[in-house]
Chain length 150, copies 8
């Protein structure tokens, strides 16, 4: 059994690294993917490649569409999409990814603190699992692939 | 030509009424639908119908799934999904709806103030139109259906 | 808003009538459908229309396929599939319908007593709502369509 | 020719081992998969990974959804789903899997004793083959892949 | 309950009329459709509308594609496709329609004499019912829609 | 039998009117639709509704996306898409519509003069019929719906 | 570029071998597949594996369904389906395969003598190429993969 | 991360070679594919393989359908379709490919000079990126796969 897992959402903590390391230590055959997590580059890619815009709306628009080339491909290929919500920023792209993945029939794992259960209830309702830590994500993936509980 | 339009997102201003009235005045054959916009009932529906939960996570979970019966049906049936983001609250369900609709191939119109262009850039990038007022939504719908510009 | 609801499962109590009556009293625009609930006819339809079989396997096979003409059509057309499990009989066809509907992306409401929660956990996990009585089904449908809680 | 075959259903006899051994002896290029067949762990996985629930319904719910991460993936990837019904227990999850697989257009092989033909007639009606023993499943798979009859 | 039924295949007997009359007498809400059954016109439509071809292959090609505008639409819209095989002619278009309908997930009823069971076994294997007379088709449709056996 | 037909392509002659009139005279139950054929408005709709752009690329982009709300809906709903190529202008949107419709499985009728057969060969190869005049389109539609040849 | 090609239809001449040899000599990376071409075994597989039937209809039915496990898998996996019609036998299964493949969006190549153009016109109309010899099939495949003409 | 990229459109400059070389120098794991870019052979393939036609329409038709075997396969397999429009010729097949790819949900990159922005606005509106040079295509692909900006 092999899985492809896409890690969407919050980019200001090292949760993706914790999951990658846990997966590696558990010896699981998982292809992990993620969006570009360099905030600045993902904002500037449109201008840097295709030329500068004077209007910020179109600067953002061009950049988002180029970043979309990556995220559309990786979410479409994924078996499981993990979406992490932190306690800062709007993170509407994370919720958008969750909705996009749900409509494609992908399995969702949502990770967030217990303080934001209420505003995330619709996202959680579409998930196969809701957890709080990256270690729990690793535990779920190991169990799903090897039937071993922690 | 007949359209079905679903109005997702912010529930604390009367933007839905403005659109409904504008559509009616323009004589457009549009079936407008929306989620339950009564915040309290949409929170309590699980407990009130299926029995009270002691744990808030499950209270929210039951309610969200029942509300999902409505939203899944209406988004699936819609030709166009309009998503409104206000300047308060997390509104992750609005972004989730946008992603869900996009993956189903629905046409999106996103409505929000110019101050939140940046955090909404991924949602806007998936839209056919981005606007600021409900009057613009009506203008778009009238033009789409009757070829008449304001 | 109009819904098409298919009532699958147990055929030895009058739960379907209770739902139909409740829906009518609530004035909901719902097209309710069901399998043939006459046990004997649904067993004999193959032999009676196409000629008798000497082998019971093929008698059952012919009948099930003819009944399938009805159930495939009605489940495919449904927005919501309600599946009722009673405390008698195998009811594998009810669970089959639930799986079939889930894979087609239909919304599921599962109805059963609290004593059979454990063997039904996989079916319940795929549902938007799990309830115990036909009155609760009516309450859910009324809320979904009119936003009114009981 | 390579096949992916998912073995769903009854977990209290060694039928899966018999099929795996037969497939290996026949030298067939088949990737065989199965749900977690450890009854206790599949019941407890939710509580053990995500924390204990006081309400058994939610304990079952969390566990089923996590197990669903595995079964959804494996059924979606399968070419053929074999579903085994034994003479004990409700086995509604087996029938649910059969319906789910049928709606996805997967080929079904159903295996059960002749004494339960009647309650399984709807499941059998959706199958490409109905048999009684794991040896017959191996015979079918060998014939399908190599054109060799027993 | 309303059905759309497409009657494909043999065009040299009046079986379609018998079904239409039986459906009407039974008061069933069925929209019955069929290909153009005028052999000559269906052969000549390409030449007559688009201009004559000197090469018979292209004459046939143009005609078949125009006829395909009708058959593709009607099969796509149908709930049930009835395919009749007679004892004369090649009728490869009937078998093609059956395969086309099967792959679209339409329910098939196949009608033919008992003398051609063997060459039609693959078509019959994809059907929900195999019968010999138009009266049996009517009996099936009445039972499917009204639960009444003959 | 009822058809929905979308008329795509060239907007500088009155071919759409000829088809509409022919369809009406023939008494065919066809819902005919078309893009906005007012060249100026379809160019300006973005600026006029959403505000003026200084950069022509974005002016065109906004307008095209709003026009896309109409064309995506109408092509998705159509049974048959008729695409007309004239002898002037690039008409890349007509060819884009043809490809879009083909990939959705819609039936195509392509209409153009004999002098541009060669550059249109890939579009023609995806069509059910290739003709030169709007009268031929009407002849095809009448034949498809009524089996009557001219 | 790699292709998967399924060779359907006539089983009494060695056309499949000619294609396989031509493909091998041309060094094309094609995975060629075919149904079981042993007429007797494909008739008897149901009885031999699952037990003898007294009624020939059910003998044929069981066998066809088991053979269907192979053909459904191989056609679903194929990029191109080649269907050969000979001058003997009914070959309804070949036409059924062609319709099935067409509805799945597979590319069809049809191969038959010029004497049966007329009865095959509907099948030919759905094809990307119609040819007479296996050598032409090889020429097409070589050109498609390497751009080299004979 | 691995991508499959199809390069559609203009065949009279060496833009495909520039992209291939850039991709190779950047060490990207991309499978690049293209139509047959030999104009003469793609025109003649039908006649050369299947026999000469006297009517140019059918000569073109046969050739286009054979070329379609290649393009349908490669576009269906692609993650990203790059479409290049030059300043000469009609290039309707390029716009057709763009529409076909868009309807299949493929990501589009469109490449053309700034002088043809207006006639290409509908094609550009469906794209994730619009650029002018093959070097920009390489920059986009490198960024999408490695997160590195130029």
């Amino acid at each position: 059994m092999k899985l492809r897992v896409y890690l969407s959402g919050e980019i200001h903590t090292d949760w993706r690294e914790t999951i990658k390391q846990g997966v590696q230590e558990a010896g699981l055959d998982i292809e992990i993917s993620a969006p570009n997590t360099c905030h600045e580059d993902s904002d500037d890619c449109g201008d840097k490649i295709l030329g500068a815009e004077t209007n910020n709306f179109w600067k953002d628009h061009k950049a988002s569409k180029i970043n979309g080339l990556r995220t559309r491909k990786l979410i479409s290929d994924a078996d499981i999409v993990v979406v992490r919500f932190g306690d800062k920023y709007k993170q509407w792209n994370a919720a958008f990814d969750a909705g996009y993945a749900a409509a494609l029939g992908k399995s969702l794992i949502v990770m967030h603190g217990s303080d934001i259960v209420h505003p995330l209830k619709e996202v959680d309702a579409a998930a196969q699992a809701v957890c709080e830590t990256p270690e729990q994500v690793v535990d779920i993936l190991r169990y799903v692939m090897t039937n071993q509980l922690p």
